[in-house]
């Protein structure tokens, strides 16, 4: 800061306009200090790091198009007679919500496009979050210090599901209304308070006259508001922690290697926003989504076949379809287990993946920061758990479309349902075992490559007639990369008796932890990576097997 006014004005005249503007802002916002650490911030490069960007950008697209849609949408359940330009529905009774959605689709120029972009972006947002979450999971990016950011991301995924569901319900068409009815039926199954929650949510009996307006404020204000906050927090933490990176030459746990935010990532990430937006706009131009005019307005006594929710609710739908219809009647009350159990399993399955980072860090007892990503093969038990989880999820996704599987593949609906019921339990077990074995196989292969080099495919005949395959040794970079991962040693539980021969009191949790630890890092559960001595031994002359 200059101390005299003359100096100040002199500097002002000399500096270009942009700098003067920045000076002005710095004096009020302190932007220089902020930019000092962030403008040339380094981001590592890997294709999987853009999955999170897809989520961020589709969220922005959803907000932009959503604001546009609110300009035309009437969140009202008043019944009106349609007299817009879509001929087949003229003269029909429908809610104002449905009427205004038809208006957006047929009479507002570009309205249909924005509606379709909004819906497509929502599907991509949810799919993006799912895949992004898997990326973070399988590479162990959720480890300290990023557990809280993992939870932020998880909450975004769950809230995204509900924001999607409430938005999907707003047009009040026959399909979405059926989905809302399903939700009401599920709420009714809750013991003791179910009917009360349902009556309070719907302002009385289903469907009532209120739910569209109520879902509207939840969909456009409450949930997106929370999500926006979480997303900002998520990004601040990404900046604060600095991005993770894969192991490689020059990359350590104490640095981050990549290119600077300005200009490379400004251009790449900024450009990527336009790529995502452009692709979604083109998809919305070509592929119709949720043609509510073909589905018709909601009537509580009508339904169409092949009723399906959006994909992200397919898992919940599968649970409700696969569950046997258990009901217990006792003391004048009904316990609707056939609906209530799926309603409980749904959040439990989601929670299993949410709390995983805390379970793993308890098993390892590792309190250090981790910034180098794991290759999935190097964490076989974690990878196997993740694949088992995805298997359960996918089985239920199949279950959510059991009627479509039956009709498209000419199967019996009963057979598909029974398959789903069994596979929900058996599938994850099979997937766990198979994945773990594949991971261990890949670890063995890496070990082999380090010790014996890369198979070159060249067969050489030696002068005395012996054939050998030529193995090309790996470069120092490759050797380092393939052996950079850390291998834990299973937790020792210690002797069961103390030095006086008295049995030690062991807490159950300690025993469990030791068991889990050996399941994670025991002899058969990871392939010990080659040591320098082994390498020297093999490469020092008598190593060509």
């Amino acid at each position: 800061m200059s101390t005299t006014t003359t100096n100040d004005s002199g500097a002002r005249r000399a500096a270009p306009a942009g700098e003067r503007l920045a000076d002005w802002a710095d004096g009020r916002l302190g932007i220089y200090s902020l930019a000092k650490s962030n403008m040339r911030k380094i981001f590592p490069d890997h294709w999987s790091f853009m999955l999170g960007e897809v989520c961020l950008y589709s969220f922005i697209i959803i907000i932009l198009t959503g604001v546009y849609l609110t300009l035309f949408f009437h969140p009202s359940m008043n019944e009106v007679v349609y007299n817009g330009s879509y001929v087949p529905l003229q003269g029909q009774l429908m809610s104002e919500a449905f009427n205004s959605t038809l208006h957006i689709s047929f009479d507002v120029r570009g309205g249909l496009l924005i509606r379709q972009i909004h819906h497509w972006a929502a599907l991509i947002f949810l799919a993006g979050m799912f895949v992004h979450m898997m990326r973070v999971f399988f590479t162990g990016a959720f480890r300290k210090p990023r557990e809280i950011n993992w939870l932020f991301g998880f909450l975004l995924f769950v809230l995204g599901m509900f924001t999607g569901f409430t938005g999907y319900s707003l047009p009040d068409d026959l399909l979405s209304g059926t989905g809302v009815r399903f939700m009401e039926g599920a709420i009714l199954s809750v013991p003791i308070v179910g009917t009360y929650i349902s009556f309070f949510l719907f302002g009385g009996e289903f469907p009532g006259h209120d739910f569209v307006a109520r879902f509207y404020s939840i969909h456009i204000l409450l949930l997106p508001g929370i999500m926006l906050g979480l997303m900002v927090g998520h990004l601040i933490l990404v900046f604060y922690h600095k991005h993770t990176q894969f192991a490689g030459p020059g990359k350590t746990n104490n640095n981050v290697v990549g290119m600077p935010l300005l200009p490379v990532y400004m251009a790449k990430a900024g450009g990527f926003f336009f790529l995502v937006f452009g692709v979604i706009a083109a998809v919305a131009a070509i592929a119709t989504i949720n043609p509510i005019w073909a589905i018709g307005p909601y009537r509580s006594d009508q339904v169409s076949t092949g009723a399906q929710p959006d994909w992200y609710m397919g898992f919940a739908e599968g649970l409700i379809r696969a569950m046997p219809g258990w009901e217990i009647n006792i003391w004048g009350h009904t316990l609707v287990l056939g609906v209530f159990i799926p309603l409980v399993i749904f959040p439990l399955v989601l929670a299993a993946i949410a709390v995983y980072p805390f379970i793993e860090s308890w098993v390892t007892g590792d309190k250090r920061e981790h910034h180098i990503l794991d290759r999935p093969r190097n964490a076989p038990t974690r990878t196997a758990f993740g694949v088992a989880w995805i298997t359960a999820y996918m089985v239920m996704l199949v279950g959510g479309g059991n009627d479509l599987w039956a009709t498209h593949f000419h199967l019996s609906i009963n057979a598909v349902t029974w398959f789903v019921r069994i596979a929900f339990f058996a599938g994850p077990v099979v997937a766990f075992v198979a994945t773990k074995r594949i991971c261990l196989g890949l670890q063995r292969r890496d070990r082999d490559k380090v010790l014996h080099g890369r198979e070159s495919g060249i067969i050489k005949r030696l002068p005395h007639g012996e054939f050998i395959e030529v193995h090309e040794p790996l470069s120092q970079e490759q050797l380092h990369t393939l052996t950079a991962h850390e291998q834990y040693v299973p937790v020792e539980i210690g002797p069961l008796v103390d030095e006086h021969g008295v049995e030690r009191k062991l807490k159950g949790s300690e025993k469990l932890r030791a068991k889990l630890s050996s399941a994670y890092y025991g002899e058969l559960n990871q392939i010990s990576k080659p040591t320098a001595d082994e390498y020297k031994e093999i490469t020092s002359g008598h190593g060509h097997h």
């Binding site: 289903f206 995502v276 509580s300 219809g325 609906v339 060509h544």
Partner: protein, 352 residues
Amino acid sequence: MSSQDIPEENLPAAQETTLDKVTGADEKHPFADPGLPPHEHRIQDIDERAAKRSERTVALLFTVSMLATIGFIASFVAFPADKSIYVFPIGHISALNFSLGLTLGVALFAIGAGAVHWARTLMSDVEVADERHPIEASPEVKSKVLDDFRQGAKESALGRRKLIRNTMLGALTLVPLSGVVLLRDLGPLPETKLRHTAWRRGKLLVNMNTNQPMRPSDVAVGSLTFAKPEGLEEHDEEFQNEIAKAALMLVRLQPDDIKDKKELEWSHEGIVAYSKICTHVGCPISLYEQQTHHVLCPCHQSTFDLSDGARVIFGPAGHALPQLRIGVNADGYLEALGDFEEPVGPAFWERG
């Protein structure tokens, strides 16, 4: 491939001497980190003509974007909202939606492609390393903060003046109650509303399609007919709520085929009336298989046997569909002989 192609150092005899990799960096990392690989120049870094080509490509993409935006505005003006065009292989689609979407898509995508191409070919691609610093504060910072906190807590006297603390906690706990109380009027209490429908003794069964009362002869064998109680009209204020419970399906069976005794008793000339609302989560049932007398809910595939008290034979529903007792009035029209005796639709805690 002849043996001359094999690099000499890869031959077994040579390997013994060339494999002098740096090993034993430390216990955990058997192979030392060789450090960042040297930067490899792209063609644009060394050949100005290639760089110029890149520049032109980027500029072309940005120009395409501008043209596409003009195309967007032109489409908006040119195409009426109801014009439909044939586009292979999609079929007949809205000309406006298609042209607006494609031009917008191209306009956006070209900006993105231009920016990414610019970044990849012309901006520096030298990898740089930044230091990371531990997130945890140093012990000095931590003890300073804890001291400050203790000082602040002491100055507030919260620990010493228990009366203030307890009453404050009490007040802060109670005040959200107002918000909870305010939610009370979100809806009425359930009371017994879920137990009653619009059906009463003597209400005629009105055909959903024709809006006319029905005679037994109107219900053909093998067909599924939907009915509502007389007096309930589409434009009624509470139509949706009432029909959500009162929707009825009628099927005519051969009386001999009816296995359930009560079902036979409550039927008329083989015509049975069941609630159309699935007992699982409340979807309206709409699929009827006349050979087996099964009805199937299209939402979750619960299947009910209408010839056997509508008991559940497959799927997630927990109990049979409620039956409505019907008869014929003096004029020969089908009528209800009362309301459903049990609640229709999904089960709930108070159902019993």
